[in-house]
């Protein structure tokens, strides 16, 4: 299957000797939107971190293919340069480092990896301006230090701004909708929708249906105790919102 973007097979991962992911299987194709839901502590962020290459987690079993490459053998930065983006559940503040400086390095590292020339200063500024409009991020914020003193909502918008700058093949957005007010949610969600094309794919990790009103998923997965215990279409999210996870969990725990 040539439009297969991400193929996760029987993925197991541990942190500090504790097994968190216990056999994940997940196939994502270009053009698709997947939602991953599941109770707190089920391993959603862990899955995102392992895919991004966070070295805190040890993969003990399984394989991951991304764009035909063996993802697990690659460094964090090479995964990013190849086109994997992780929107952090908790974006990190980096005092004294301006967004512009940070993004210039990020964009040009990606270009270098792909054998492209670095952007000129003018091209870069144009890109910054164009992409900050996607999430209505004010130029005041893009001239500040990375996430420093940003409100919760601004941090999440900033994640999507960076996603827009880097134009990833696969974006994994970890609770990008948490902590947003109604307007910010609309802006962030519309931003993500604008960035979605038939050539890329998006995996959104979320607890709420409200995000999925904007970003309509093709597939919805439920992650529980480190496994995907159920997969359905977009109506699953609605059912979960109404009925919670109990009906699934009770079935599974039996």
């Amino acid at each position: 299957m040539e439009n297969n973007m991400l193929s996760v097979k029987n993925l197991h991962a541990t942190v500090e000797g504790k097994e968190i992911l216990r056999g994940i299987d997940l196939e994502v194709k270009a053009g698709e939107v997947h939602a991953i839901m599941g109770p707190n502590g089920s391993g959603k962020s862990t899955l995102a971190s392992v895919l991004a290459g966070n070295e805190k987690y040890t993969v003990t079993e399984g394989t991951v293919e991304f764009l035909g490459r063996d993802l697990l053998s690659m460094s964090i930065e090479d995964r990013a340069r190849l086109g994997l983006f992780l929107g952090f559940q908790y974006p990190v503040e980096i005092p004294g480092v301006t967004m512009a400086n940070f993004m210039k390095l990020a964009v040009n590292e990606q270009r270098k990896y792909r054998g492209e020339e670095p952007l000129t200063a003018a091209e870069f500024l144009r890109l910054m301006k164009e992409k900050s409009a996607v999430v209505e991020l004010s130029s005041k914020l893009t001239s500040r230090a990375v996430n420093e003193g940003f409100s919760g909502g601004e941090k999440k918008k900033n994640e999507i701004f960076q996603m827009a700058m880097l134009d990833p093949k696969l974006a994994i957005l970890d609770e990008t909708d948490s902590g947003l007010d109604i307007d910010a949610l609309r802006i962030v969600a519309t931003g993500v929708t604008k960035l979605h094309t038939p050539q890329n794919a998006t995996v959104v990790i979320t607890h709420y249906q409200r995000l999925l009103d904007y970003i309509v998923p093709d597939v919805v997965h439920v992650l529980y105790k480190g496994r995907i215990i159920y997969t359905g279409d977009k109506t699953l999210a609605l059912k979960l919102e109404k009925e919670g996870y109990d009906w699934l969990i009770n079935e599974y725990d039996k």
Binding site: N54, I76, A80, R81, F88, V92, G96, A106, E109, L166
Partner: protein, 273 residues
Amino acid sequence: MDRIFEILGELRKAGREVFRVESPVPQPYASVDPGHLRVELAAGAAAHLVVLHTEEGTSALDIDLSEGAQLELTELFLGGTFCETAVRQGARSRCRMTTVLLAGANVVYRIELEGADAENNLGGAFLLGGREHGVVKLHTSHRVSDCRSDSTVKGVAGGEAVGEFSGLVYVARDAQRTDARQQSRNVLLSETARIETMPQLEIYADDVKCSHGATVGQMDSDAILYMRQRGLSESQARRLQIEGFVGDIVRRCGVEPLGEALLELAAEKLEKL
């Protein structure tokens, strides 16, 4: 480094032994390896002075600011100089100092606030690697009432380097309404690097606002991870983070292109830490 010399080459020379300024209009001056230099600013005079230390030897700056004088002093250490800088400030004088150590120098500052409403502001940074050993000692004395001092010294040590900061704020019995702040903030880049910091207050007046603090931390591994996830290499991420940490100090020097040139030079050094 050449860039720094180029910039300094375009400035007036501060002369040897005694450098006296009378003009109230601040002009930038430069001095390279001054040895023993006395700097006098007449009442109401103003100047920018950039001092570059490259040698292993000793150096002494004796600075005297008369009433209302204003000095912007930038010192850059590229060699293991032992340097003592004494600053005496008269009433209403202003002294803004920046000191950057890119080598294992041993630097002592004695600041004496002797006239009311004098103000001293110091920003220091040391970046040490390999087996370098750098020392910054700061002794700020509030002798009379209504003076202000504010010092921030940031330290970065990698490899097997050792950094030392010791700061003392002394407030005399009659120095009421003193406002004194001192901060020492440090980052260790390796397990084998060490930074010792000793901020002290010695206060004999009762109506004062004094604060001091010291921290020694590591690189923020979450920030490194975050930057790498956006495609930066680990070394770029580390460098950016340290630049962010010391950038405000290194860049703050008042002579226009010098701040950026210093940051560039510091970044080159960071690359090797």
